[in-house]
C-alpha cells in the first residue's frame, strides 16, 4: 500500500522540486554577485503566475484560445510572463536596491521585504479591481496523463519538468560559454578587478536580475498551470522553500540551487505522503512545511556552506 503510491509521490516531488530549483537559481545568482538575499524574488514568481494566467484568461475572453494549439498558448504565457517579470526585477534592482548598495547589509534586506509586501498588495488590488476577487482559477492547458502502468504522469507535470530542464540547461550554457556569462562569474568573484577589464558591473548586475527574475516568473506560469489556483501570497512560502533549497545546495552556487531544489521537493513530497502513516498519524502531511524548514535549520547548523558551497570565507 505504502509502496504502491511511491511512483506518484516521486512524480509530485520532482515537479515541485524542479520549480524550487528554478526559483532557487534566482536567489543564488543575486546572492553570488551582491551577497544579498532578494526576498522579493518569491513575489516575482507570484507576479509571473498572475501575468501568465491573465494572458490565458484574456485570450480566452477574446475567444482566441479556442482552437489555439496549447503549446503555442503555453509559449505565449511564458514569453509574456518572463518579459514582465524580467523587467520588474530590473526595475526593482534599479529603484530599491542599487541606491542602497553601500548601505549596511540589513538595509537592502528590509527594502526587499518592503518590495514583497508592495507586490502582494499591488497584485491583490489589481485583481480585486479587475475581477472582484484576488485569487484566480486558471484554465489548464494540458489535462491528459501519460500512463506508464506503475504510475501515471500528468502531462502538466511533465511540462513543468521539461521546461525547467530547458531553462536550467540554457542558464548553464549561458554562464559557462558566453562572454556575458563569464563576465557574470568574474563580477561575482571580484567586482573591482572585473571593472578593470572594462566590464560594466552595473550592467552585469542588471543582467543577473533580468535572468533570475524571468526564470522565477516562468516558474510562476508553470506553477499556475500545474496547480490551477493562485493567490497573491503563493510567493511567500514557495520563495522561502526555494531559498531553503538554495542554502541546502550552497548559496551562490548554481548547481547547488538546482540539486538543492530537486532534493527538497522530493523530500517534502515523501514526507507529506509517509510521515503520517509512519508516525501513526501523529505528524500528517500538514507538517510538510515544518519538515522543509527543519532541513533549513539543520543545514545552517551542521553544513552552513551547503552541499556544493565552499566554506565561507570573508571576501578580500
Amino acid at each position: 500500500m505504502l509502496l504502491s503510491i511511491l511512483p506518484q509521490v516521486l512524480v509530485d516531488g520532482l515537479t515541485l522540486g524542479f520549480m524550487y530549483a528554478v526559483v532557487a537559481l534566482g536567489y543564488t545568482m543575486v546572492y553570488g554577485i551582491l551577497e544579498f538575499i532578494n526576498f522579493a524574488h518569491g513575489e516575482i514568481f507570484m507576479v509571473g503566475a498572475f501575468v501568465g494566467t491573465e494572458v490565458l484568461l484574456i485570450a480566452d475572453a477574446m475567444g482566441s484560445l479556442k482552437g489555439m494549439n496549447p503549446y503555442i498558448a503555453l509559449v505565449l504565457m511564458l514569453v509574456i510572463g518572463m518579459l514582465v517579470t524580467g523587467a520588474l526585477g530590473v526595475g526593482i534592482e534599479r529603484i530599491a536596491y542599487r541606491p542602497l548598495r553601500n548601505a549596511p547589509r540589513l538595509v537592502p534586506l528590509i527594502s526587499a521585504i518592503g518590495v514583497s509586501f508592495l507586490l502582494q498588495d499591488l497584485v491583490r488590488f489589481t485583481e480585486a479591481v479587475a475581477r472582484n476577487e484576488f485569487y484566480l482559477n486558471s484554465p489548464i492547458l494540458f489535462n491528459n496523463s501519460i500512463n506508464l502502468g506503475f504510475a501515471s504522469i500528468p502531462q502538466k507535470a511533465l511540462i513543468v519538468i521539461v521546461i525547467a530542464i530547458i531553462m536550467m540547461v540554457a542558464l548553464t550554457l549561458f554562464v559557462n560559454k558566453t562572454k556575458w556569462g563569464i563576465a557574470m562569474r568574474a563580477v561575482a568573484q571580484d567586482q573591482t578587478t572585473a571593472s578593470l577589464m572594462t566590464i560594466n558591473v552595473d550592467k552585469v548586475i542588471m543582467l543577473t536580475f533580468l535572468i533570475g527574475s524571468s526564470l522565477g516568473g516562468a516558474t510562476g506560469v508553470l506553477f499556475a498551470q500545474n496547480y490551477g489556483t493562485i493567490d497573491p501570497y503563493i510567493g511567500f512560502i514557495l520563495g522561502l522553500k526555494a531559498f531553503t533549497a538554495a542554502v541546502l545546495g550552497g548559496i551562490g552556487n548554481l548547481r547547488g540551487a538546482m540539486v538543492g531544489g530537486i532534493i527538497l521537493g522530493l523530500l517534502e513530497s515523501l514526507a507529506g505522503a509517509y510521515m503520517g502513516p509512519l508516525t501513526g498519524g501523529a505528524f500528517g502531511a500538514e507538517y510538510k512545511d515544518v519538515f522543509a524548514f527543519s532541513i533549513l535549520i539543520l543545514v545552517l547548523l551542521f553544513k552552513p556552506e551547503g552541499l556544493f558551497g565552499e566554506a565561507v570565507k570573508e571576501k578580500v
Binding site: K179, I182, R185, A186, A194, L196, M197, T198, N200
Partner: protein
Amino acid sequence: MALLELQNIHTYYGGIHALKGLSIEVEQGEVVTLIGSNGAGKSTTLKTICGQTRAREGKVFFNGTDITNMRTHEIAQLGIAHVPEGRRIFPKLTVRENLEMGAFSVTDKKQIEEGIERAFHYFPRLKERINQKGGTMSGGEQQMLAIARGLMMKPKILMLDEPSMGLAPILVEQIFEIITELNREGMTILLVEQNANQALTVASRGYVIQTGEIILQDKAENLLANPQVREAYLA
C-alpha cells in the same frame, strides 16, 4: 601633452591624506617607474588613475581627455590596462576565461585568439595551463596570467603594480625582460616597484614617492646614481 598626465592630485581614504598634490607625466612609448616604500601611495596613484579611488583635488588626463571623474570600466576602455597589486586573478575562472575577460571590450574573435597566442608567446607556461582554474596556479604563474590578461585589450598604456612581488629571482628577471620586450614593441608602461634597482634599469625615467608626495624625479640612470636613492631604496 603627455599620454598620461596627473596634475596636483590629492586623494583621501576617509581622513587619511594618501596623495598630497602629486603630479606625474608619462609620454608615449616610455617606461616610467614609480618607486617608494610601503605605504608611500604607489598603489593609490594607480587606483586614482583608473578611478578606483577618486581624487578630491587635481586632474588626470589621458590622451588629452579629462578622465578624473570617469567610471573605472570607461577609463579601462580608453586603453588603460591596470595589472593590480596582488594579481587579482579570477580564481574560479580558467586561464583561458581569465584571458577572455581581459579582452572583454574586444569584439573581434580573431583578435582575441591572436591575443591569446601572443600571451603564450610571452608566457609559454600559460599554454600548458589553459584549462586550469586561475586560483590553483602558483604565485608566479598567476603574475604571468595577470600581465597577459592586461595585454589582452591591446592597451595604450600598461600599468603594473609591483609585478615582481613575491617571485623567485629568476622569474623576476624574466618579468623585467618581458617589460623591456613589450616596450621595444612600442608599449608605454607605468611600473610601480619596490625593487628600485631593477625598475630603474628598465625604465627611462623615474619618480620617487614618499608619504604621498613626489620627492625626486629624474632620468633613471641619474636616480640610480643618486646617493639619496641608493641609500633609501637600493640598499
